[in-house]
Symmetry: C2
Subunit: 319 residues, 2 copies
């Protein structure tokens, strides 16, 4: 049922999917839904609950935790009505599925504007942060992160460890990805010797088969195929940042189909990173449509892996 | 002169403009140029200087500082060859125009991959951070930020102070923008009484004419016109985050033309923030084409204002 104020020609409705979104702000919620429509995100349920007269965020979390059509819950929250009720609902929900929250009113001045907006008590940022952590909630810092996290948790299998392998055809991107992995408190994987040998076999001597694994600027489809396939099988690797610059002439357009096939039943999360214009965007869109997570910057990719690792650690602790 | 390896159909060339870009990584540079092409950024010069055998980053900074066709310098740097030479070139350049740097190899592992890539000494992150600060260089954390900063410095007049006014037609976005302003160490402006009265006159009683100035979800073009115009004139306000959700039915499509006219000769930076799908994107693109800076998330907008304020403070100190 569609009960939004904004007409569909101005504010597209996203396609059906597995992300449910509850928002204490109507305008923010509607804009995010509209954003989701262009990014091809599938949405299950959307609730704008405002000042929470009858139904509050805890009720909604509990409901969506039990909803089979929801795989990931996203929430914009300004204040929590009943702390204890929220904690117990949140714990119940995160035991079943990831819950991503962006909190409005983290600063004292932000809290004041919350008071004018929904009259919630925004409370102390540190307290909220602590509560979210205690409940296994993933906290996004920006709206962009909300999107990225939601996409990543929907598309990707959960990490089993924190050892990340970087594969790239651009040296500079490999360097930035390395920084991003370390700055987000993840580890660089050390690939097995048999993996190294397999990749070396199809690569020139100047390729650097370490971590980052720099296939260099003249990498072709086959080099990428072998690298991705062997890293997916490598038991020393838990997740992959795959930097794929489509612009170089040695990459054939058929790489999309190849990657979609390779990654179809992946048991590790893969974050494809690729910057560029129309040509690159077309390729990224093809991958996104097939449920592969793509990013513009290695830092955004690493942030998603780190958020997932936080959630996995929480689950390991409670189960 | 176009000497890139990648064919134009795969890697578009951006239009002519005032941003010059030097990159120690060829692939990264080419991908960023290609990215710039879809975002309608104008580029003046691009140099990929790799391991800097003949010409190093200091030479290039010095050259671009004197280049009348360059207003903003952007650099991807893995390591600096000659520290003293770099510092003096950087100081010379930043006294003339903004210099935005993204540094590869900030972590120890990142530095190791720099050694395999360009054989530069990546050095200690803290040392580089200190040097950049000492020279008035704006350091971007992610590639996305490089883009945003470059756009913002090219489009916007410099801040004269750090007092930011938020104008919005979405309460939740106003709250997030307030947090973003405070978290980025900027201040919330306190508008003059005459400004408040002007806006109140065209707004319903439930509008909240403070900071954030929440024109509420039924704001129309006229309410936005009066709010923006009077805040541009208000001497207690140094910069504006303008949250404009185009999806609501009360906003007429002519708002683009109105904003372009209003902001034409602005003497304060304005960061337009708007999330959404096709309809909203079309409007944002119209504004971007007219040299207005737009963002998806309030946090990105505040980061740009904060980066600009850092640069302005440096200039105030040296002049």
């Amino acid at each position: 049922m569609d009960s939004l104020f904004n007409p569909p020609y101005r504010s597209k409705r996203p396609k059906d999917g597995k992300i449910s979104f509850i928002s204490q702000s109507g305008a923010l919620g509607a804009a995010v839904l509209d954003w989701a429509s262009v990014r091809d995100y599938g949405i299950s349920k959307f609730v704008s609950y405002g000042n929470a007269m009858d139904v509050d965020e805890a009720d909604l979390l509990g409901f969506l935790a039990d909803d089979d059509e929801t795989n990931v819950i996203v929430a914009y929250i300004e204040g929590v009505k009943d702390g204890r009720k929220f904690i117990s609902a949140a714990k119940y929900a995160t035991a079943k599925k990831p819950v991503i929250v962006i909190k409005g009113g983290l600063t004292s001045e932000g809290a004041k504007s919350v008071a004018s907006h929904t009259a919630s008590l925004a409370g102390d940022a540190k307290v909220y942060e602590g509560v979210f952590k205690q409940c296994g909630i993933v906290q996004a810092k920006t709206l962009k992160e909300v999107f990225n996290f939601a996409k990543f948790f929907t598309n990707e299998p959960l990490l089993k460890g924190d050892r990340i392998q970087i594969i790239t055809n651009g040296g500079g991107f490999g360097v930035l990805a390395t920084d991003a992995v370390l700055m987000n408190k993840l580890k660089l994987a050390k690939m097995q010797e048999k993996t190294r040998k397999k990749i070396q076999k199809v690569s020139p001597r100047y390729a650097i088969i370490k971590n980052p694994c720099d296939l260099t600027g003249d990498a072709d489809n086959e080099r990428f195929r072998v690298a991705v396939e062997s890293c997916l099988e490598d038991k020393n690797i838990d997740g992959i940042i795959l930097i794929l610059l489509f612009q170089v002439p040695t990459i054939k357009p058929s790489i999309d189909k190849m990657m979609i096939k390779l990654l179809k039943n992946r048991e590790k999360p893969v974050a494809v990173t690729s910057a560029g214009g129309k040509y690159a965007l077309k390729h990224k869109k093809n991958l996104e449509k097939a449920g592969i997570s793509t990013f513009n910057s290695p830092f955004a990719a690493a942030r998603c892996l780190a958020a997932m690792w936080e959630y996995v650690k929480y689950r390991k602790k409670i189960i």
